[in-house]
């Protein structure tokens, strides 16, 4: 499959009064054309920073991209200057933010906010931009779009606003759509509708989606592939089936066990004990070792080498090593 976006060994740090926080510590993944890649992990694991770094939207300073490459159309986005980045933002890569209540400017009509993106990137008249906006609103399922263009964000409900934010992000038909927790601020029924909309749009436009979430239920519904992040690194990446049915990293397993299940009787919720490591001085070995039931001496000393279970399923864990094989059989049932 064609790779549309490649992230290689991305490292991002933030300088604070307490020192430098290493928020992202070497993240690599490929995004294929037309697929949905979900990045999951708990709060503070670096998933939002990763996504905002792709668009170069992290505030610099205090943020700083320490190293790595973000390849898009044979360009390294990290090396680009602001004016060149502006041509890509919104036109080739666009973004949907978590809270639709605050993501829209309260003093501009939604029509204006949808149209300004396309008018910035394409040489078209206002009338044409308006037609594009109407078309987009229809695509995201907003009734009587012509009339609604003239309304302000406060005249819409939360779900409607998220649809508008999606319309805004898609108006220039980007190649990549980054959705940062797009359903977290919405209630469950609206959430289902929005996820349905994502699938629908991907079918119609073929856009590649990076979905940032901490909700495995959302992942199960829309993702083709899943990357699990912990403490600024991707610890396991694989197809949705592989991650849900053959998880290898103890952290992935822990995440899956902490989701309530309706399909298994007497399923127990098992929390992951402990807290994530301090990213001011991240551990040298596996960052999860301190919370891991199966951790071995080597885990704390050396970061695990990546093992590949198939050409798309990779995991960073010492348990994959020949010498640790015996342990694995004991926990694989979930």
């Amino acid at each position: 499959m064609e790779k549309i976006l490649q992230v290689k060994d991305l490292q991002v740090a933030f300088s604070t009064y307490g020192g430098e926080v290493q928020a992202v510590r070497g993240v690599s993944f490929d995004l294929h054309k037309g697929e949905t890649l979900a990045i999951v992990g708990e709060s503070g694991c670096g998933k939002s920073v990763t996504s905002q770094s792709i668009m170069r939207l992290i505030p610099e300073p205090p943020g700083r991209i320490v190293g790595g490459e973000i390849l898009f159309n044979n360009m390294d986005l990290i090396k680009l200057k602001e004016p060149e980045l502006r041509k890509i933002r919104g036109a080739n890569i666009s973004m949907i933010f978590q809270d639709p209540m605050t993501a829209l400017n309260p003093t501009l009509t939604i029509g204006e906010q949808i149209m300004e993106g396309i008018m910035e990137h394409e040489k078209i008249s206002r009338a044409e931009a308006k037609m594009a906006a109407v078309e987009m609103l229809q695509l995201v399922g907003i009734p009587s779009p012509e009339a609604r263009l003239k309304q302000y964000p406060h005249q819409f409900s939360g779900g409607m606003r998220q649809r508008i934010v999606i319309a805004m992000a898609l108006v220039c038909s980007p190649d990549v759509l980054i959705a940062d927790e797009p359903t977290t601020a919405l209630d469950v029924t609206i959430q289902a509708q929005i996820l349905e909309l994502f699938r629908d749009i991907q079918k119609k436009t073929g856009v590649s989606i990076i979905l940032i979430t901490h909700d495995l239920g959302v992942v199960a519904q829309v993702a083709d592939r899943v990357a699990v992040m912990y403490a600024g690194k991707i610890v396991e990446i694989g197809s949705r089936r592989e991650i849900f049915y053959r998880p290898q990293h103890p952290y992935t397993i822990g995440l899956l066990q902490s989701v309530p299940r309706l399909d298994i009787e007497k399923a127990e919720l098992v929390p992951i004990s402990g807290t994530p490591p301090d990213l001011f001085s991240p551990p040298v070995g596996c960052a999860f070792a301190a919370r891991c039931k199966y951790s071995m001496e080597v885990c704390e000393r050396v970061y695990p080498v990546q093992s590949s279970l198939s050409n798309i399923h990779h995991v960073d864990c010492w348990l994959q090593d020949e010498r640790a094989k015996k342990l694995v059989s004991t926990f694989v049932k979930i």
Partner: protein, 310 residues
């Protein structure tokens, strides 16, 4: 729509009436009268004078007379300057004060907004510290110090501008500069802090993610939201600047209306005290109304009147 304006108009009239009544009775409760002077006048003459200006009548009657004259927009005669009416005095002084105040406001708003925006965009950098230092100086230096400094430097040491009076555009430069520094500093500080707040909002990040240029982000997305607090201050600021300032007009020998406020109180010149107060209050009330109207224009969530429920 119309009911809102009618209600608002009635409220404005009531406010004005309360101010008039308050001032009237306060003024008369203060000891002294226009005819109390070091040089004692003959008692009979004093009686005659009081009778002439109806000051011998009961206070409530005087109050009633004043209100009914006011309904005809007649502010009465000046007692001290017996050849003039208060209407004439304000009619002569206000246009001058208004001209001075108007240019001052324009200068203060433009330079204040510019300083504030630049400071916010270069937050915590040298240019931010520099403009905020200017702002603090502008707030702390009284305008009469500023005025004398400007005269000393730009009229005496380097005779670029005339020292005083109000005859040509060149004469306006120094008083406008002296008067504008304070309001400019206030506006700059307000703009900076509200811009800083707005720039961290999610919708600014959204605008960036669309690939908009920094100029568009600042002027289209940020400034409008940041202007509300500035507009709030601008209302009362405009009212006081437009109606003249005693000190600046005195220093530059500008024939504005600022001096009437102070002189009338020293002289116990009752009609002039009332006249200037009524006039100032009317302008202030009008400005506050304009500010409220501006809110509705700037922020669509603020509606001055309730629309019928859909």
């Amino acid at each position: 729509m119309n009911t809102y304006f009618i209600k608002r108009f009635i409220a404005m009239i009531i406010t004005l009436w309360l101010i008039i009544s308050g001032t009237f009775f306060l003024m008369h409760s203060v000891p002294g009268s226009p005819f109390n002077e070091e040089r004692t006048t003959n008692e009979a003459i004093q009686k005659n004078l009081e009778a002439y200006y109806h000051l011998d009548e009961p206070l409530l009657v005087q109050y009633g007379n004043y209100l009914s004259a006011l309904l005809h927009l007649d502010l009465g005669p000046s007692i001290k300057k017996s050849s003039q009416t208060v209407n004439e005095m304000l009619g002569r002084g206000f246009p001058v004060s208004f001209e001075l105040g108007f240019y001052t406001l324009i200068l203060a708003v433009i330079s204040g907004l510019t300083l504030g925006i630049i400071a916010a965009l270069r937050h915590n950098r040298i240019i931010d510290y520099l403009s905020m230092s200017i702002a603090v100086l502008g707030i702390s230096i009284p305008n009469f110090v500023m005025a004398t400094f400007l005269i000393e430097q730009l009229a005496v040491n380097f005779p670029l501008f005339p020292v005083a009076t109000w005859t040509s555009p060149k004469h306006m430069v120094l008083p406008i500069l002296a008067l504008a520094t304070g309001p400019m500093a206030i506006i700059a500080r307000l703009t900076r802090s509200s811009m800083l707040e707005v720039l961290t909002q999610d919708y600014i990040r959204t605008a960036k993610s669309k690939g908009l240029s920094p100029v568009k982000i600042v002027f289209k997305h940020a400034l409008r939201n940041a202007l509300l607090p500035v507009v709030t201050v601008l209302g009362s600021l405009a009212a006081s600047i437009l109606t003249g300032t005693f000190v600046i007009e005195k220093i530059f020998a500008i024939p504005g209306m600022g001096k009437y406020f102070v002189d009338s109180i020293n002289n116990r010149d009752f009609p002039v005290i009332m006249g200037t107060t009524v006039f100032y209050s009317a302008i202030l009330i009008l400005m506050l109304f304009l500010v409220d109207s501006a809110y509705g224009v700037l922020d669509p969530r603020i509606k001055l009147h309730k629309k019928e429920a859909k």
